[in-house]
Assembly symmetry: none
Homo-oligomer: 200 residues x 4
Amino acid sequence: MADADKKRSDKRERILDGALKAFAKKGFYNTKVSEIASEAGVADGTIYLYFKNKDDLLISLFEDRMEWIIDRLKTELSDMEGGAVAKFRHMVTIHCRLAVENPELAEFITVELRQSAKFVKEYENPKFGDYLKILQSLIEEGQQTGAMRDDVDVRLVSRACFGALDEVLLQLTLSQAGPEEVDAKAAQIAGMLVDGLVAK
Amino acid sequence: MADADKKRSDKRERILDGALKAFAKKGFYNTKVSEIASEAGVADGTIYLYFKNKDDLLISLFEDRMEWIIDRLKTELSDMEGGAVAKFRHMVTIHCRLAVENPELAEFITVELRQSAKFVKEYENPKFGDYLKILQSLIEEGQQTGAMRDDVDVRLVSRACFGALDEVLLQLTLSQAGPEEVDAKAAQIAGMLVDGLVAK
Amino acid sequence: MADADKKRSDKRERILDGALKAFAKKGFYNTKVSEIASEAGVADGTIYLYFKNKDDLLISLFEDRMEWIIDRLKTELSDMEGGAVAKFRHMVTIHCRLAVENPELAEFITVELRQSAKFVKEYENPKFGDYLKILQSLIEEGQQTGAMRDDVDVRLVSRACFGALDEVLLQLTLSQAGPEEVDAKAAQIAGMLVDGLVAK
Amino acid sequence: MADADKKRSDKRERILDGALKAFAKKGFYNTKVSEIASEAGVADGTIYLYFKNKDDLLISLFEDRMEWIIDRLKTELSDMEGGAVAKFRHMVTIHCRLAVENPELAEFITVELRQSAKFVKEYENPKFGDYLKILQSLIEEGQQTGAMRDDVDVRLVSRACFGALDEVLLQLTLSQAGPEEVDAKAAQIAGMLVDGLVAK
DNA sequence: GATGAATGAGGGTTCATTCAT
DNA sequence: TATGAATGAACCCTCATTCAT
């Protein structure tokens, strides 16, 4: 029973992996279901035993991978000492490190998040909302502890921060930057967001 | 002769307008060429008198609209008094105002820029590069005049700024914010990018 | 396994049959793929599981049917007693009998061989070459045994003979001649080619 | 008035020339009307002032060129001394010389005569019938004067002869044979048709 | 008469999805 | 459960023909 479940979830995972690889390389609309199947080592029809259709596969992949990212982020942040600003800086680093640790996922997220998700009928993308909420809470925490300015709309600036991170992540991924370079650049971005561009 | 030229460029413009409307609403891959044609009030085949194929239409639309945006931006910035920081703040505002002044264009740019352009074979998107260069030069100017910190990589932070602006523009567009709200939010984002999130 | 193979080759054969019928009736360029599909009793898309495209279907049909014709011809000729002249006469008869035995194939070959094949990109039509070679060898054999004149270029006259046969086959097919008539006319043509038009 | 007529017929001729060139090179179905127009140096629409449609253009081209061929043939034959057999031999030569004298026309006739004409709705191709009649009359004359065997169906053997000539003409054209070679080969073919393949 | 931009029906091909095995 | 052959709706693009200038 547990064996059967495991087997099932293995195959599901293989399909998601195949889809991630394919979507990262060619994009959702340019990827054929049959390519995903062959990447996953299953038959075309098998995909429809695990997912309702191609859209559902995309959405499931988002959910699954965002959950993984969020879990990882929460763990790392909760293990951390320090105030909101330090945590914010660390979050920037973790975000950017995806370019090194899982470039395919990075490419998938940065490229597909907006467009595909937008046009896949009525999908709200709750996990992406969760990710934003983490950013928001950090900034709110900073405001409440007096570490961060409170004359800005938290939802607005958190989105702006996400946009900055997302764009930088895309560049880091495409340029295939190494770990040190990624950390260094993450630090610069964090510095800009925290302290601003003006000279002190 | 001039008449014929005008007519021709009018029709081309109508097709681009139709494509913009259609792409903004449904995305490149979900838009049929026939929908663009009907939106533009021309026959399907007419589109192929002005553009090589659907991809070329997308690329041409990018080129055309980015050029318009860049021209407008350059004019406004060159008319301006003040240093690099003031100009930077103004650029943020101009960027955000697109949400009000041309929401369809805003939606098109924010949503299609990354994905479609990425998977349309070998397109380098030079106009987008031009836009980034304006941001870069502003920051470089700020660094040279001592107004901005020079311990950051200009290319990196300019991209981060663009990411922030792009994401905010998308939100402003989708939320159908009014002109005052847009200006207010633009000011906040400019404030964050210039002075940072930390409390002073 | 053998079952699946059989099924597959059955369906391929059904498509070729449908194509033959359709091409014979309306010609290659006036036949829609969907007509072939409906003639074959398969879906449009199925055709593309067995053939690369419409051109490939045409070429495959040539190959397949010419091979069948050649095999049949070789068998009949090798079973035969008699010298090169007798064999040549028999070959003329076999060629003409196609008008009775398989009028669709006769129409297809006589009408499509030149044009379609010529303009289907870079197709060399090797099977047609094989057919010509049989004619050539017969004539060469006749020359070597002294039964046929050797003051003519074998390649040239074999082509001329083929042209004569081809044209006669077309007429016989279109006139829907019966078996006896076909044999009688074949004998006349053989007579002309062997003995010439002059009175003896 | 006569001037206007001349001008009109000049343009018509230019279009026919363009069509001949285009059809010879790419075949009827692969030739676009616009290609013919550009070859002829006229606008696309102009073609429809002179011909009902593309089919009509093809048919008119046949008529026109066959008429030219027939006129030429009749003149040459009527100027000739000698009996039916000599005339027949000469006709073979004249036919083959087309490969040198007008290769485009040769290619057009040999390739398009059967197929295109067959599928262009209900066209009877009367000029081609006229050409065959010349062959027929020669053979009939030969039979009546006792120079040719009369145990063969004239219509049948004339078609066979045409088939042989047509095929040989195609080969000569494609191989770009020179005038001497063409005459030599024509003589061989005439020899075969007149005296037969058997050794004497 | 001549033009050539515009038309739009038509067709080859793709590919997400189904279902018999 | 897994397969993969079969399906057929959908869509991009072509090109013969028209017609306003």
